[in-house]
Amino acid sequence: MSKTALLMDFDQALERFDPVLGLEVHVELSTNTKMFCSCSTTFGGEPNTQVCPVCLGLPGALPVVNEKGVEAAIRIGLALNCEIAEWCRFSRKNYFYPDMPKNFQTSQYDEPIAFNGYLDVAVPTDEGVMPFRVLIERAHMEEDTGKALHQGGATGRIHGADYSLLDYNRAGIPLIEIVTKPIVGAGRYAPEVAKAYVAALRELVKSLDVSDVRMDQGSLRCDVNLSLRPTPQDRFGTRTETKNVNSLRSVERAVRYEVQRQAVILTDGGKIIQETRHWHEDTGLTTAGRVKEEAEDYRYFPEPDLVPIAPSREWVEQLRASLPENPALRRARLQAEWGITDHDMASVVNAEALDLVEATIAAGADQAAARKWWLGELSRIANERGLGLEELAITPAHLARIEALIADGALNDKLARSVIEGVLAGEGEVDAVIAGRGLALVSDDGPLLAAIDAALQAQPDVAEKIAAGKLAAAGAVVGAVMKATRGQADAAKVRRLLFERLGVSE
């Protein structure tokens, strides 16, 4: 069977069908310990070094709920405008798989911790930004599985492997699964809506500081459900579930691909098979996984080894009150405060400099200057060194001080760059670097006037030209003065003093 399915042109597919989306996002929590035992959750450990009888599912071992996991789940639920259950339980999801130590996953079934919420997202379209509300069905707690590593064979997949090794370090790490209600009405922007939703969710969860939300490391994973129907008035069609969609770009591409693939099949009078499909990042294709000949029967029942979770309303309200500002609202607020364009704001966000710029402004700097430094000089340096901006050894307070000195005329941009260099090199605080490097601007008029006189003597024709109204000729004198002071002069001031000397008004 060929792996390359026939695809219909996307616009043509959208003329014939209305797409219905559903997104399931798994967020791996960054709690110190696993969901039901005290093993470490650190990423990248030697295989099977972060395991114990509980997360290995050894006979007789029993789970105990990690309170921090419940707290993170409630905070995510609240941030997604969900209701928080007054009483809920864990359930067992029973199926056999070697990377699952107990052959059941401790999850939540009909009693999720959070339900009935929404997330407002801004979808970029050809006609500008389109606001779109994605309804949230539920957010529930569960545990991650281990990992199977297939050895030998050519593909690294289970078929053709000589043997498989199992690593249970990940088994039992807390996950929050966030499930949308069917997303209807996105039309031709379904791919963009899907991407914008996952991006907004990632930003939201990141702001809560409960997960690394690294799609590349699997701490945020997305499954895309998609079906087509002839018109928005029809019933939902049969859906496919595309797994392993592990970048924002892939979310968009996977939706687009499934729309195009399903459209061909339906147009030809075929039927969509309810199945799990796997997204391949390299080829941009999805391939069929195991066909669900009948709906998989997980034989859910309430987990008898755990007691119900009944978060007190006081606790929930405390958590609600301590939620950080919604990142989208915060962005809008800051943009308005700073009075900058959508494009400029996007630059700040894309540079991951929002927090730093905000803090620099709070420390007293002008917004334009704060943006200029973080997005310019400092982004360039961070990039060169392969670091994140926040990893640079310079703080918003440093920059605010530098800006204050520039405003006072004690520094110019060139000197400021040298100060930054010194701070990054660990030469001390801003003023110490200036003193250490001897970077202060020459501010006494005396030395400047002496340098001006010397320059005028060296270039006698300049004075005449200026007197004749050719003010541009002043550049030669200013340049000479700057050179004489090794750049530690304020050029504007030199120019002013020169004109005063010659009795010329600008």
């Binding site: 050894l58 006979p59 029973n94």
Partner: protein, 497 residues
């Protein structure tokens, strides 16, 4: 010298404390007894003589150093093979775990170690605690010391038989539907299923998580109380553990005062259809209670009629999930790993080879009962029955302090007699199951021999949740009165092995 194997735990404790015997001597006496009789009784699956003597020596050394010793320090104990013990075999009576040695201790084992109890070995049981006769052990049946052709009850037949055969003065059992109480009844010993959550389940290989409970077994009510105190109490590793102080069970066992105690006869468990000798001894015990000053009244618990049916849906459902982990991937048996079979096939072959017929029967029933479309009708309905049974108990305990019934419908039956009739086998637990479903506590103690077969009959005492001390009060007083009548312990009447 005193015959050490005939002593109660209390008597051994006194001898050890007085320095009249060492833990080493006590252990040797019991190990020698095991060596002499266990070939015929088969109460034990594993005995590690060296390990046991080393432990006994440690206890002696600790006592010699002047350290404060617990009351059971140096007293030997038989441990049901369903509790994880670090480095020691823990087979659950199954081929599946034949070579598995746990890397950790069950909380019960930790507490026994902390109390300096000397563990003699691991006792036989029905595979994964599924059975009422110990015939479903993959390692062969245990024989009832009263008549070696008969069953010792189950699933904890090994623990009960070890007590009746004087191989150990104390034993740990687990009780999911009667696996402590029914073996106690048919071997003339005492066993208690504590309130659910009173004893940690951490390290107890689960059969049915919402029903399982480990508990103490001994030859006297007081010894049972001593062991109860050693193992009970809150454990943060078990989420269903009760976080409350443990009442003084020993004091309750010694109280011997029943005046004013209200004892309820459960109409639905009054012995209709039970063996005549069982009924007779039960009626005599009721009369004895009245003569001791208790108020005996009849109560009705109509929902008990549905208990057996509900139990045989809830238990297999939970068991089917609890036993899913045995797939040959991580530990225990692995079958078919020859390079020819897929992972799924190896899992299937392992489970087919590792599980016996009763286990497979219950896994299949449970898988069916939980499947979508049947869940509400089976598992859901069974949980509703459970609620009704709890209500019946609650109502009964508003007018009674404890309830009583015969523990089992019959005395010990012949090995093989009910092996092909699962329903007949399940009926053994008809009187004990409601207690597990409701989560409260129960005791079985011997009340005599059935005239028709000369075999022990057990009385069950049931108390409300966290009313475990009432079991010991009602049991201790009755035992004292019976011993006064008989002039000896009932096991004195058992034939010599």
């Amino acid at each position: 010298m005193t015959d050490l194997i005939k002593q109660t735990a209390r008597q051994l404790s006194d001898l050890l404390r007085a320095g009249d015997v060492s833990a080493h001597e006590v252990a040797v006496a019991h190990l020698d007894r095991i060596a002499a009789v266990d070939e015929r009784v088969h109460a034990f699956l594993h005995v590690d003589r060296e390990y046991t003597l080393a432990r006994a020596d440690q206890v002696d050394a600790k006592r010699a150093s002047g350290a404060a010793m617990g009351v059971l320090a140096g007293v030997p104990l038989a441990l049901k093979d369903v509790l994880a013990m670090k480095g020691q075999p823990t087979t659950c009576g199954s081929r599946m775990l034949e070579h598995w040695r746990p890397p950790y201790n069950a909380t019960v084992v930790e507490r026994l170690h902390a109390a300096d109890v000397v563990i003699l070995g691991k006792t036989n049981m029905d595979e994964f605690a599924m059975g009422s006769s110990t015939e479903f052990s993959a390692y062969g049946p245990t024989h009832n010391p009263w008549d070696l052709d008969r069953i010792p009850g189950g699933s904890g037949g090994g623990s009960a038989a070890s007590l009746a055969a004087f191989e150990a003065p104390l034993a740990i059992g687990t009780d999911t539907g009667g696996s402590i109480r029914q073996p106690a009844a048919v071997t003339g010993t005492v066993g208690v299923k504590p309130t659910y959550g009173a004893v940690s389940r951490y390290g107890l290989v689960a059969l049915a998580s919402s029903l399982d409970q480990a508990g103490p077994c001994a030859r006297t009510v007081e010894d049972t109380a001593l062991l109860h105190m050693a193992i009970a109490g809150y454990d943060p590793k078990d989420s269903t553990s009760i976080n409350q102080p443990v009442a003084d069970m020993v004091a309750a066992a010694q109280r011997r005062d029943l005046r004013g105690m209200r004892i309820g006869l459960v109409k639905e468990l009054s012995g209709q259809g039970f063996q005549a000798g069982v009924r007779q001894r039960f009626e005599e015990a009721v009369a004895l209670y009245t003569s001791l000053g208790a108020d005996v009244v009849e109560v009705s618990c109509p929902s008990f009629d549905y208990a057996l049916a509900a139990y045989y849906l809830i238990l297999p459902s939970e068991a089917s999930s609890n036993l899913a982990k045995f797939d040959g991937m991580r530990y225990g048996l692995r079958s078919g790993d020859d390079g020819e079979h897929s992972v799924e096939q190896v899992m299937g072959l392992t489970r087919a080879a590792g599980f016996g017929p009763e286990v497979i029967r219950r896994i299949m029933i449970g898988t069916y009962a939980l499947s979508s479309g049947y869940y509400d009708a089976y598992y859901g309905s069974a949980q509703k029955v459970r609620t009704l049974i709890q209500r019946d108990f609650n109502a009964a305990f508003t007018t009674c302090d404890v309830l009583i019934s015969p523990t089992a419908p019959t005395t010990a039956f012949k090995i093989g007699e009910k092996l092909d009739d699962p329903l007949a086998m399940y009926l053994n637990d008809i009187a004990t199951i409601p207690v597990n479903l409701a989560g409260n506590c129960g005791m079985s103690l011997p009340i005599g021999l059935a005239p028709e077969d000369g075999l022990p009959v057990g009385l069950q005492i049931i108390a409300p949740i966290n009313g475990d001390d009432r079991l010991y009060q009602a049991g201790g007083a009755l035992e004292a009165a019976l011993h006064a009548q008989w002039g000896h312990h009932i096991l004195e009447e058992a034939p010599a092995l």
